[in-house]
Each structure stands twice: as C-alpha cells, then as structure tokens.
C-alpha cells in the first residue's frame, strides 16, 4: 500500500509540482501583491501592504483609472466582436465542409486551419502591411469595387476592428474544426426522421443542427473569449495601443504597467480585476446556457 502511494506521488510530483510553483503560487502572489505597493524590479519582500489603494486608483478618475477602464472596455469590445464573428463563420465553414458533401472540402479545411499555425507575430506584421492605407492591397481591392480607402489601423474608429479581423482570420479555422467535431456527433438518423416529417433546409438547421450544436458553441465561445483576452502581438508591435488608446487592451496594458513601468502592485490589481471579470463572465455564460437547457 505504501509502495502504491509512493508511485502516485512520483507520477504526479513533476507536473503538479511545476504547475503549483509556476501557476498556483503566482496566482496567490498576484492576489497578495494587488494589495501592496511594490516595484517588480525588487524582491517580493519589499512589498508594503496598502489595502485597497491600488483598486481605488485603477477605478478612480485619475489618468491611471482612465487608462485602465479604457483597456477593460477595449478588451470587452474586442472579445465580443471576435466571438460575434468567429462563431457564425465557423458554423458556416463547418457546415460547408462537413455537410455539403463537396469535393475539395478537405483542402479548404487544410487551408483554413493552416492559418492557425502561423505565429501571431507574423500575422501581425503581414496584416500591418495589408492594411496600409496607401501601398496595401486591401484598400486597392476595395477601390476596384468602388469603396473608398479606409484608414484601418491608423484611425481610432477602425483600429480595434482591424485587429479583430486579423484575429478572426487567424483563428476561425481552429473553431471550424471544433464545429465539425460537433456536427459529426449529430446522428444522421435525426435528420432523416425530420425530413420524413417534411422539414427542409432552414428548419433542419434551426430545429436540429443549432440546438444539438449548443454545447460545442458554448465551449467555443469560452475558448474564443480566453483567446481574445490574450491578444498582444498586433498591439505591441503594430499599434502600440493607439491611435489614441483605441487598441490599448488588457494584456498589453498590464504588461506595460507591471513589467515595463515596474509598478507591480498596480499591475497585479489590474490582473486580479481581469481574472474576476473573466470568472464572472464565464459563470454567467454557463448559467445562462443551463437555463436555456432546462427550457
């Protein structure tokens, strides 16, 4: 029995030990540091407890609060737009590849998914050129169909949307595969039975495909949200949060405050707020889905 216990510990120690040291301890530290004044250039022992001051500051009316709230709103908008584009597109693409029974569907799947393998940094650099107002091909193509040149990344009105589109381009193939996996699990016999009852195209989709895909969609939405919160490269490299703060998202902002400006306590308070916002959002989404389920 003790030999058995020893092997349990031996099997779990390497992975759980690493996760404990490099994920769980840092989470605990983040929560603690959020209530301290601390420079991330100095040891943890220099942190001095200041209660809720950091939170007062990031939610206050000063410049720190304004920048933080801006970043929080930008990240929320960015996430919403990403999910609102990725989910319908991946369902459309997934149905096209899985259900339309067309030759070449696998080639499309490969091309779509290949973009997911491209480093975000390369995606950001390529799109910064594609979006270029003068020498970029996107405006040229739009010009051919009579749409005037758009400012894309250089205007505060369009910059965040431009980064969303870049993100959607990169990730939609991954979610398409998730949707295909979900579609595969819907038994063909349900469709056949519905067709016998006279159901056609849109009805099949609305009454069978969509409801039975609900779990996949819910899961996809959560993953898309977690991914959206992590957007960093296009902001860090291409827009640097601008123009006028319009692309200043949480990951970029927290790193700038906590690492570059070394305001570790302030940055940690921001991290804790982000984590709480995420937990609340995900819980709400699941609660909503469960209520829908019961109906």
């Amino acid at each position: 029995m003790s030999g058995f216990r020893k092997s349990i510990v031996a099997m779990l120690a390497p992975s759980l030990g690493l996760i404990a040291i490099f994920i769980l301890v840092p989470i605990a530290l983040t929560v603690w540091l959020a209530f301290t004044k601390w420079s991330s250039q100095t040891p943890f022992s220099t942190a001095t407890f200041i209660g809720l001051d950091n939170f007062r500051e990031i939610f206050g009316a000063g410049s720190v609060g304004r920048d933080f709230k801006g970043a929080l709103v930008n990240t929320a908008l960015y996430s919403l737009m990403s999910i609102a584009l990725i989910l319908p597109l991946s369902v459309l693409f997934g149905m096209l590849i899985h259900q339309a029974d067309l030759k070449g569907a696998n080639i499309l799947r490969t091309i779509l998914f290949a973009t997911y393998m491209v480093p975000m940094i390369a995606v950001a650099l390529v799109f910064s050129k594609l979006y270029s107002p003068s020498e970029g091909p996107i405006n040229q193509i739009l010009g051919w169909v009579g749409i005037g040149p758009l400012p894309w990344l250089s205007s505060p009105d369009t910059a965040l949307v431009s980064v969303v589109l870049l993100n959607v381009w990169q990730q939609v193939g991954y979610f398409t595969i998730l949707i295909i996996a979900g579609l595969t699990q819907i038994p063909q016999s349900i469709y056949e039975a519905a067709k016998m009852d006279g159901a056609r195209g849109p009805a099949l989709f609305g009454f069978i495909t969509l409801p039975l895909l609900q779990r996949t969609l819910l899961f996809s939405a959560v993953i898309a949200l977690i991914n959206a919160v992590q957007v960093f490269e296009p902001v860090a490299l291409v827009t640097q949060g601008g123009p006028v703060g319009s692309t200043n998202v949480m990951t970029y902002h927290i790193r700038r405050v906590g690492i570059e400006r070394a305001q570790g306590g302030l940055g940690s308070a921001m991290s804790v707020t982000l984590l709480l916002a995420l937990v609340v959002t995900v819980t709400a989404v699941f609660a909503l889905a469960r209520r829908e389920d019961r109906r």
Binding site: A10, M11, L12, P14, S15, G17, L18, I23, L24, V25, P26, I27, L29, T30, L33, P43, L96, Q99, D101, L102, L108, R109, I111, L112, F113, A114, T115, M117, P119, I121, A122, L125, V126, K129, E135, P137, W169, I177, L178, A181, Y191, E192, G201, L204, T209, V222, I226, V229, Q230, F232, E233, L237, M250, G258, I259, S268, S271, L274, L275, V282
Partner: protein, 288 residues
C-alpha cells in the same frame, strides 16, 4: 443503418445550389490563403516594389535579396537554434510530465483525485497575463531571468497535456497494466514501455501542438529575455526587424523574416495535419 454512398447529406441539393456552394468554398479559401501568399510574394520583391503605391502584386524580378538582408541584420541561425531549443525541450518535458500524470489520474484511485484534477484543469483556462508579473519576478529570483532556462522551465508541464493523456490512457485496458505488474514491471516501466506506445498517436499530436505553440509564443520569452538578444527566438528577432529604420520600414525585409518564422510550423502542419485535427476533435483544446 444509413448508406453513406447513397444517403445525401442534409446540405446536398440541386446542381445550381452546389455551384453556389463551390463558389463560396473557393472564395473562403482565397481569402484565407491571401495574406500568406502576399507575404511570400512581397518577400521576393525589390525594396522599391515592396513600397510602391498602388501595390505591385507580382514581383517583376523575383529575388532573394530581402532574405540575405535579414540574415545580415539578425542572426537567423542562432534565432532558429534558440526557437528549436525552447520548443524542443519544452515539448519533451510536457510529454514526460503529461504521460506520468495522465497515467496517475487515469489508472490510480486515490483520495482527492477529482479535486486535484479539477484544480489542474482550471489552470488551462487561465490567461497567462494574470500571472505574468509575479512569475517574471519569481523566475528572476531563482536566477533564471534572461536565459533560455527561464523561458523553458515554467512550461515543462501543463494542464492540457495532462488532460489529453488522461483521456487516452483511460482507454488503455486495465488488464494490460495488471499483466505487466504481475510480470514484476515497475510503474515507471509500465508508463514508458507499455502505456506510451499504446497512446502513441495522442503523444504525437500533443508533441506537435506543444512544439508549434512554443515555437510561436511571444509574450513570455519577450518578458524573460529582455535585453539578452543572443537568446532571442526567431519570433522575437523578427519583431526587431521593425525597429530598423522605423520611419521607412522595408516591407520586403519584414515579409522575408515573417516567411522564415512561418515555415517550420507550417511545414510540420502540412505533413502531419491529421494528428492536429484528431487531437482537436477528441479534446477540443490547443497546445497550452
């Protein structure tokens, strides 16, 4: 019950409708492939062509000058070696730790198993930025900052790998494990010589995901390696190309660098895509 060859899929319909669907498919493929095609084409242009307005689509005299310029500005070979070290060692570590923990969670019954597993899985959904600040300091305080070890060590285990391995190892028959135990094999031997081969396809998929993920990762290496450019992986070296002459960035140069960074993960994917697809469909997760 249903015959795939004769039962039309729900979407199948008239030839006209099929034609529309084909057009749609081609349009999606073109939009999806366009940025990468543009990237490669631009990398072959002359600097003048790359900056021209309106844009030139096909390079007039395709040449590799941008690539040789890239290798003058950044040490491409060393960056590739750093990327390979980071992605390679991290992947190897993840395989070993995930295999062992996955085996424990799948085949042992012990107190707090469900709780431990749940805590582990929860970390899968944590955006890395939440822990970045203390982690940066923590890695520094154990003397690993500005080094490849600092990039690698915190990533040697992750919840996704454990989750994936548990899923697959649960499918390995208990009898197989019992038989090996009766033969006197140690638990480590069982994991690495009996369980590992039985879940080889899942291990291969995990290896590919982990490798691509860590080859592509940017935020953490950038944070740990601040100022130590000799340790930069290719994706960070690439971002430095932008700072050369920022006022008039040479597009061809940046595109050549991007092409170089994209090639290894893309080649890996093209040859081994069925492993990627199978892993996503069976787990619904990514490499982290």
């Amino acid at each position: 019950m249903s015959l795939p060859a004769t039962t039309p899929a729900p979407g199948a319909a008239s030839p006209a409708w099929r034609g529309i669907l084909y057009l749609l498919m081609i349009a999606i493929a073109v939009v999806s492939a366009f940025p990468l095609v543009w990237m490669v084409l631009s990398s072959l242009k002359t600097p003048a062509e790359a900056m021209q307005t309106p844009p030139v689509w096909i390079p007039g005299t395709p040449n590799l000058d941008a690539y040789s310029k890239v290798s003058e500005l950044i040490s491409v070979g060393r960056s590739f070696a750093n990327s390979a070290l980071i992605a390679g060692i991290t992947t190897a570590g993840i395989l070993v730790t995930s295999l062992m923990a996955g085996y424990a969670f799948a085949k042992y019954r012990f107190r707090y198993r469900e709780v431990l597993f749940a805590i582990t899985i929860a970390t899968m959904f944590l955006p890395p930025i939440v822990t970045l600040i203390p982690l940066y300091r923590l890695v520094g305080s154990i003397g690993l900052n500005a080094s490849l070890a600092g990039v690698i060590v915190p990533n040697l285990a992750n919840a996704f790998g454990i989750f994936l391995m548990r899923q697959f190892i649960a499918g390995v028959p208990d009898e197989l494990v019992e038989a090996a135990r009766l033969d006197g094999a140690s638990e480590f031997r069982i994991v690495f010589t009996i369980v590992a081969p039985a879940v080889a396809p899942a291990l291969a998929a995990l290896a590919l995901f982990a490798f691509v993920y860590h080859w592509n990762s940017y935020l953490w290496p950038l944070t740990v390696l601040q100022g130590n450019s000799s340790q930069y992986p290719i994706v960070i070296s690439l971002s430095r190309l932008l700072s050369y002459n920022r006022s008039a960035v040479n597009t061809g140069l940046v595109m050549a660098g991007a092409t170089l960074a994209v090639l290894p993960p893309l080649i890996l994917f093209v040859f081994l895509q069925r492993f990627f697809v199978r892993t996503i469909t069976s787990s619904g997760m990514t490499g982290q």
